[in-house]
């Protein structure tokens, strides 16, 4: 005998039944607080800077910045500025939107491991951001050439910045 024995349930395709449809969250909108650390981070982006925080006890650099060191569980000691350059830690090519609809053009996105002058990082804990990668095609993703490639933050012109992660347009792959 194979368990489960006669599992029950009625698949949709077997019956026509009424569906009750409604917008679940309706017109509710959230107004998120950016917080002590990310508030200053966003203000920095508006000035064209990528800021992070440092815990001097363990030496970790946090980007996105935190108010506290999550490992030593103490307040961070100071702010540092990343150079705006980094290397690609991982990268993918998205053919779909957040809604699952097909995207017009494939979008290249990845995690950028950032450089901070005066610090060095291994691959186990490092300052890193999720962002669009530009100057590369989905073919470059597929042949895996982009792993470890050098990139540089491309900021929007100052008058278009709003204090958002999208003030960085993308991380641009450095030319050959």
């Amino acid at each position: 005998m194979t368990k489960p024995k006669n599992p029950r349930g009625t698949p949709f395709e077997e019956v026509a039944f009424p569906v009750f449809e409604m917008p679940h969250v309706g017109k509710a909108r959230y107004s998120y607080a950016a917080g002590w650390a990310l508030g200053r981070f966003l203000a920095g982006l508006k000035e064209g800077k990528i800021l992070g925080t440092v815990c001097k006890k363990c030496g970790r650099v946090f980007i996105p910045p935190r108010m506290y060191c999550s490992y030593c569980f103490r307040e961070v000691d100071e702010w540092v500025e990343a150079s705006g350059e980094g290397v690609i830690h991982t990268v993918v090519a998205s053919y779909i939107e957040a809604t699952r609809a097909r995207a017009g053009e494939p979008k290249v996105v990845g995690v950028v491991k950032l450089e901070v002058p005066g610090f060095s990082f291994d691959d186990h804990f490092f300052p890193g951001l999720l962002h669009y990668i530009c100057g590369a095609t989905d073919e470059d993703v597929k042949n895996m050439k982009l792993f470890g490639a050098r990139v540089r933050a491309r900021f929007k012109p100052p008058e278009q910045r709003t204090g958002s992660v999208t003030d960085i347009e993308c991380f641009e792959v450095a030319g050959p």
């Binding site: 194979t2 599992p7 349930g9 698949p11 959230y30 998120y32 991982t90 996105v109 895996m144 999208t166």
Partner: protein
């Protein structure tokens, strides 16, 4: 936690399990699905609701079913009315966390017989697609403005794993092929396909390179339930209780862009906790069958390595050599897993626990693995590459 000593009062066993069908969309409401699974588990144990002291419910994000306070909502169908009830939640890891929470209810002596129920109805989040409600798991300040799709993070983890371990998509697709074939022996299965080939996976729609559609588990509705009992009760209920030998769970940070993605640290830590309790020091030799979480095909490989069932980067090799097939030396996901049976999130994790229960009792029928089974493991994982839950069971 240090040492093996765990000061719990009672050993705890699983004495019954139940499942619904897993399908893309079902007529039944979440409460009705929970009831169908709970009823089957009680029947298998030969118990009625009157015998149950406490109820533990697990369900993943409220946003899928479209009902807030889902635990309270599900309580009626899960047999929780006028009883101590708790709902637990750790994203995709919830399904295996449900019996873990039920374990401490019984191990502490607080409850003698515990009903543990997991349910998910993803199809309610119909428009534009259930994937869309996952947007609320991203950080609202630094990630959501980029408009991420949930699949991005898995594609990034999979690609990093491929890069670090030099694994090809063909090697990873073997997992989807194995699991969708295995599912043909499972009466609840949504995606049994006895003829599927690696090329079918590679030729399916590319969603987010390197993830194709058949690399991913489907959207599903379904429920699962198990009954747990403390030792004295368990021996009264059945001659073949399946003991819970070890449990473990951990949570890592949501800041996933700051970590190495090629190796699942959160699973390793959860597994070490469970192994210490179960007295396992060589999982590759001591675990006879395992159900690691496989919402994506690469995840099975990734989790095998985190669980110590394979060395780092070795899981694709074991898979290619057939070691992980049902008749292999280390059968992995003989149920068909999430890729084959389906992925009603919390219910899928508990389905894995039910599978190990049936495998150890020799009741898996068409799915019974060839080697004798004394010890089995189920594992789930969830949230932003964060949560690991592990349970070790045995005779």
């Amino acid at each position: 936690m240090t040492g093996r000593n765990l000061n719990f009062k009672h050993r705890v066993a699983v004495v019954g399990a139940g499942l619904t069908l897993f399908r893309r969309r079902m007529l039944e409401t979440p409460q009705e699905l929970a009831w169908l699974a709970a009823r089957q588990a009680l029947d298998e144990a030969g118990l009625t609701l009157k015998d149950i002291d406490c109820v533990v419910i697990g369900s993943a994000p409220d946003a899928f079913d479209g009902v807030h306070m889902k635990g309270e909502y599900l309580a009626e169908g899960a047999g929780g009315i006028r009883k101590p009830v708790v709902r637990v939640y750790v994203g995709g890891a919830t399904g295996v966390f449900v019996p873990i929470a039920a374990w401490w209810h019984a191990a502490s002596g607080l409850c003698k017989r515990v009903l543990a129920v997991a349910e998910e109805k993803m199809s309610h989040a119909a428009k534009p697609h259930p994937q869309y409600v996952f947007r609320y798991i991203w950080d609202p300040v630094v990630e959501r403005p980029i408009s991420p799709n949930l699949l991005w993070i898995f594609a990034m983890e999979m690609h990093r794993y491929m890069y670090k371990c030099n694994v090809k998509k063909e090697d990873i697709a073997l997992v989807a092929v194995k699991n969708k074939r295995n599912a043909c022996g499972h009466p609840s299965a949504q995606l049994c396909n006895p003829h599927i080939k690696v090329e079918d996976v590679l030729n399916s729609e590319v969603l987010v390179w390197p993830v194709n559609r058949l690399d991913v588990s489907p959207v599903s509705d379904g429920a699962a339930a198990v009954v747990l009992a403390s030792e004295e009760e368990a021996r009264r209920i059945t001659d073949t209780p399946v003991w819970i030998k070890g449990i473990g769970w951990t949570l890592d940070t949501t800041h996933w862009t700051n970590r190495e993605l090629a190796y699942p640290e959160y699973v390793r830590r959860a597994a070490e906790m469970a192994y210490r309790m179960a007295g396992i020091d060589n999982p590759r030799k001591q675990i006879d069958v395992a159900e690691p979480y496989d919402p994506f095909d690469y995840k099975e490989l990734h989790h095998m390595e985190g669980l110590g069932l394979a060395k780092r980067c070795e899981a694709p090799i074991l898979t290619r050599e057939g070691v992980t097939q049902r008749d292999g030396d280390l059968p992995i996901n003989p149920s068909g897993g999430l890729l084959g049976v389906g992925n009603p999130i919390a219910a899928a994790g508990l389905m894995k626990v039910a599978e190990i229960f049936w495998q150890i009792r020799g009741e898996a029928g068409a799915r019974q693995v060839k080697k004798p089974v004394y010890t089995g493991l189920a594992q789930a994982w969830g949230d932003l590459m964060q949560a690991g839950t592990v349970i070790v069971m045995g005779i």
